[in-house]
Symmetry: C2
Subunit: 192 residues, 2 copies
DNA sequence: TTATTATACGACATGTGTGTCGCTTTTGTC
DNA sequence: GACAAAAGCGACACACATGTCGTATAATAA
């Protein structure tokens, strides 16, 4: 028997995702979610007991997707510098996406639900690990100069996070955005 | 006649501030504030009609304080590099402060109240302006190398913001923190 | 001391979200 | 088509925050 319930679950999470992107985490209610996915309270509560559960589900789905994209990106490209550029480009797309409000919601979630903060730490840590892989590869091939890999990785992740989290709130021009990426590139590339 | 009401107003805002630092902006209710400052609903509502008003009051007070500190810092020190270091040091103190949750609350406030986002932009803009002043001074005296002042200022502000905003959520060691400050210093200092 | 006014109180009516539960509808199987 | 199980519904009781308003208390002036 193919479960129809799983389909519904995805439908609910997708509806909730758009809500989280618009209103953040705390402000979204179960009632909102019910309305957005055109279901009754009873229907939604069959699958999720709280917005917290919905959010966790969303995080898990989103995370799988992200990991796929990045690993595909790494295997496809050959030059370390090109990989890094592609990585930056992808992040810029995330910043410019209408869904970018989600990054703020994730922060809010971590703040509001202390028992889930390990997920944020996990997320950050994974991001750092990916950058470290790129750095190591780039240094072996001579594309990158000598620098403190970990510190720079941490720096990039935090900085990107700031851009993503506040993209809904603050205006930043395309020009400034590419200047920022150049600053980051300068931290690893040979030429001054 | 010396107004007692103004004293009470400050008392309310101070109580609310500690709440915002603990729970963020959205999660704090008027009821919470009443309890924290040991006043009745009627008493508090005489001064503020909503948590939004309380928060705005808090922002204004906090802002004045910050401006004073920074300008005092600039006038006191002589060497540009020392000024920058002092600036970093102050920011680290903010990150480590038990009140650091406030930075997240400010983000949440800006996200939740679109009509108040201009205040955030103002805040960021002022931060950038201060850095630009330091940079200009530093370059004149030969302490700093040649670089894109605006881009680096924007970078520092965003990066610091990330550290402050996520300090409640993520762990970062003292060692890593000083490494990060070194990375920022390298963006402006002469030696490689 | 008394009158006046600013300050503070807390009960109340209202609005809104929560989670449950018995019932109906749909789906899949025999 | 009949039956059982899964999926979906929406009314209900409950919890909680809001904002108001008549009353009480404290502060100040005459």
């Amino acid at each position: 028997m193919v479960s129809k319930g799983n389909q519904t679950k995805i439908r609910i999470v997708e509806a909730a995702t758009s809500l989280f992107a618009e209103k953040g985490y705390v402000a979204v209610t179960m009632k909102d979610i019910c309305e957005r996915c055109h279901m009754s309270r009873g229907g939604v509560y069959r699958y999720f007991a709280s917005t917290k559960e919905v959010f966790i589900s969303m995080l898990d789905m989103d995370f799988e997707k992200n990991l796929e994209i990045v690993t595909a990106c790494i295997q496809e490209e050959t030059d370390a510098d090109t990989i890094l550029k592609a990585y930056f480009k992808q992040e810029i797309e995330n910043i410019r996406s209408p869904q970018s409000g989600l990054y703020f919601a994730i922060h809010e979630f971590a703040f509001a639900e202390p028992d889930q903060r390990f997920k944020m730490n996990q997320r950050v840590h994974d991001g750092i690990r990916i950058l470290l892989m790129i750095f190591e590869y780039g240094q072996k091939t001579g594309a990158f100069k000598d620098f403190d890999h970990e510190a720079v990785a941490v720096h990039m992740i935090y900085f990107m996070d700031s851009l993503k989290t506040s993209s809904t709130i603050l205006d930043i021009s395309d020009e400034m955005l590419s200047k920022q990426m150049a600053l980051l590139s300068n931290m690893v590339n040979r030429f001054e």
